[in-house]
Structure formats: structure tokens, C-alpha cells
Symmetry: none
Subunit: 224 residues, 2 copies
């Protein structure tokens, strides 16, 4: 018995008008002719472009080769499958009998393809801007990690250096929410620059990740 | 002396607010640090997605593999260079001395990359919807050709329709060579448009195949 796809939609942050699109995105070709192969084609191209744009903006100093490598790493099968697992996407998949028996729910290729297809479905349901928000939400942590890896410094360190170089006071990090299941918690952290009236938020699967994400958001705010 | 980039913008159907972006899109890396390599990265991803979407919509019956092949054919270097030539993009390029000397203006790779970069610049200047209009205008004929090819019409039929629609005389097909072993013959056929002084060749394992191949070659010649 599959989980209700609307829970997946909730996790993605998009309520589908056309739930048939979401259903199709979750249907592997082993389950019949009404399947996600064409949506996957669309979603793959869509993700490729949106991640390209995000990297382009985040790394104004990176050359084309570096941008290409970063993108390849973010959109490769294993990476997408990891994001799909974070969404428990396997619980919603419709598979044929053979794939069901052989553990298709957990297979990287099937998970990655289905994630692409579901994002293709979001695009058809709601257009470019909404999909961009969904995709950026989904990849936020990975993009932050890429930033950290690229600079060799994590966002908290970079924020601290930015502030010190301008003789601003250092930020406070406060956990403002802990949600999700007990074994799958989501932390929300505020990064506060009190004397400047600035505040940025971040979420993550640990307090540390949420702090890094909040620091990244603050950096983006003050660098503007 | 380069042509005025605003004429290129006119041909594309988009007047740039930020002309520096257009200028950057037209600047090859041989001309300095302010060049089009990063814009090309963005434009490549952008075109890939927009063509994917256009094919997805046009060919509701095509499977993922067919869509992928069609896209690869539309966005390959030679195809983009052909579109760039149609825009006389070479006239606007900024090249370093070495590339200027060795005919960089006419090189497929430089033209294709610059077209991608210019479309990336349109996106940054005007957003998704405007760029989609520009890209669809640019690829309209190629997409139509893809439709014709996909529709199952053979090259001889398409050539005949193309000529009739322009009230040109019909071609002559002449076998000009039969080579190969007796049980493995190779036919060469010329497709002649005598009053236009046009000639194209095709080869194949039968006269019929060679004629189709020659018709295809003629189509490619006259559609330029």
C-alpha cells in the first residue's frame, strides 16, 4: 500500500492542482503505459537549468569548467537519489510486480528518475517560478555544502570573517524550532545581528547544518 | 570593425536594457577576462531546457529516448552554429588577435558558444518568458523540420513540398555511380535543381535510398 502522494507534495511545498500529474510522476514504467518516463525527460532538463542558474549566481568568480563540475556533482544519480530518500519518495512509488519484488523502491536509478519526473510534474502544474522555489528548497543544503566546499570555508566562518573585517559584532545563533519525526528531526535556526536589526533563518537535519544554512542566508542578505 | 550589437538584438527580437550583457555574450575568451564563458554555461542549460519543453509539448506520443535524440540533434554544435550564421552573429563577435587571424568568426564552436552566451544574456536581462519567446522564434523552423521528420514524411516528399510551396521546379534524380561488390552495391545519386544551379549527392545500398539521401542533402542546402 502506497503512502498518500499529497504528503509528498506537502514535503515539497507545492499542493498540486492536477494530482494526476503527481501520480504519473510517481509511476515507474514497470507499472504500465501511464508512467513517468516523459516527465523525467522534462524534469531532468529543468533541474539542469535551475541548478546551473543557482550556481551561476552563487559563484560569480567560478569559471565555466568549475560550474559544470559543481552541477554534475549536484544532479548526478546518487545525489538525486539521496534527495529522494530525504523525501521518503520510495514510499509513494508505483512499481510493477517485478520491481516491487526486487526492491525497486530503494534503487538509486528509480528514485532519481522519479524525483526528476515529480519536479517535471510540478512545472507543468504550476510553472517556472513555483518550480524554482521548490527546486531551490530541495537543493538548499546541497548548494550550501557546495559553497562551503568551493571556498574551503563554511558559511559560519565566512560570515564571521565578513563581520570582523567590517568591525561589526558577531551573530547569535538560536534554535527556534525543532520539527519532523523523532528519528528525522528538522532544526530551524535564526542567525541574529541584533544591533543591525538583521535576522536570517536556516533549516537542516542537525543543529550544525541549520546554523550553517542560517549563516549562508545572512551572508546573502548582507552581501546584497 | 564590428557591427553594432543592437542590430543583432533586433534580429533576436529583444532590445537589451543592459547592453553590457549583450556585449559580454559576444566576447570570446581570446579577447580578455570579460568574456562569454560563464554566460555560455547558463545559456547552454537554458536552451537545453526550453527545447526539451518544446519537444515535450509537440510530440505527446514520443518516448523519452526519441525526445532525447531529437533534442541532441537540435542543440548540437553544428545546429547552433547554423542558427548563429543565420543571425550573422560572426559579424558582432569580439575576438582576440589570434582568433581573428585564424578565422574564428566563422568557426562552429565559437559561433555556437556565442549564441548560447547571448541567449544567457537575454535571460539575465529579461527573464524566463521573454527568453522563451526569443528561443522559440529562433528554433521555429528547426522544430518544424523535426516535426516533419518525425511525422514520417520522407526527404523526397519534404523536398517536393518545399519546392512546390515556393513554386520552384521539381528536381531530377540521376544515378551517377554504382560501386561496391555485385552483391553489395553502393549507389550514388545526384539531386539536381538545374535552373537554380544546385546539386546535392546521396549514397545508399539501393537507388531509392540514395535518392532519399540526396533529397535530404538538398533540403539541408536550400534550408540554409
Amino acid at each position: 500500500m502506497n503512502a498518500d502522494p499529497r504528503r509528498l507534495a506537502l514535503a515539497l511545498g507545492h499542493a498540486f492542482k492536477r494530482e494526476d500529474l503527481l501520480e504519473q510522476g510517481l509511476t515507474h514504467r514497470s507499472a504500465g503505459a501511464f508512467n513517468n518516463e516523459r516527465l523525467e525527460f522534462l524534469g531532468d532538463a529543468l533541474i539542469g537549468f535551475m541548478i546551473a542558474e543557482a550556481l551561476w549566481e552563487r559563484f560569480p568568480e567560478a569559471d565555466e569548467g568549475t560550474l559544470s563540475r559543481m552541477r554534475a556533482s549536484l544532479v548526478k544519480r546518487e545525489s538525486l537519489a539521496g534527495l529522494a530518500r530525504g523525501l521518503r519518495l520510495g514510499d509513494y512509488l508505483r512499481l510493477g510486480a517485478g520491481e516491487l519484488r526486487t526492491g525497486g523502491h530503494a534503487r538509486d536509478s528509480i528514485l532519481a528518475d522519479a524525483l526528476e519526473a515529480v519536479l517535471g510534474a510540478v512545472y507543468l502544474d504550476a510553472g517556472f517560478a513555483v518550480t524554482q522555489t521548490v527546486v531551490m528548497g530541495l537543493f538548499a543544503e546541497r548548494l550550501d555544502d557546495t559553497s562551503a566546499a568551493q571556498s574551503g570555508k563554511d558559511p559560519k566562518t565566512r560570515l564571521q570573517e565578513w563581520l570582523q573585517s567590517r568591525k561589526w559584532p558577531l551573530p547569535d545563533y538560536v534554535v527556534t524550532e525543532i520539527g519532523g519525526d523523532q528519528h528525522d528531526q528538522i532544526f530551524t535556526v535564526s542567525c541574529l545581528l541584533t544591533d543591525r536589526n538583521l535576522c536570517a533563518f536556516g533549516t537542516g537535519s542537525s543543529r550544525r547544518r541549520a546554523e550553517q544554512s542560517a549563516a549562508q542566508a545572512m551572508l546573502e542578505q548582507i552581501e546584497k
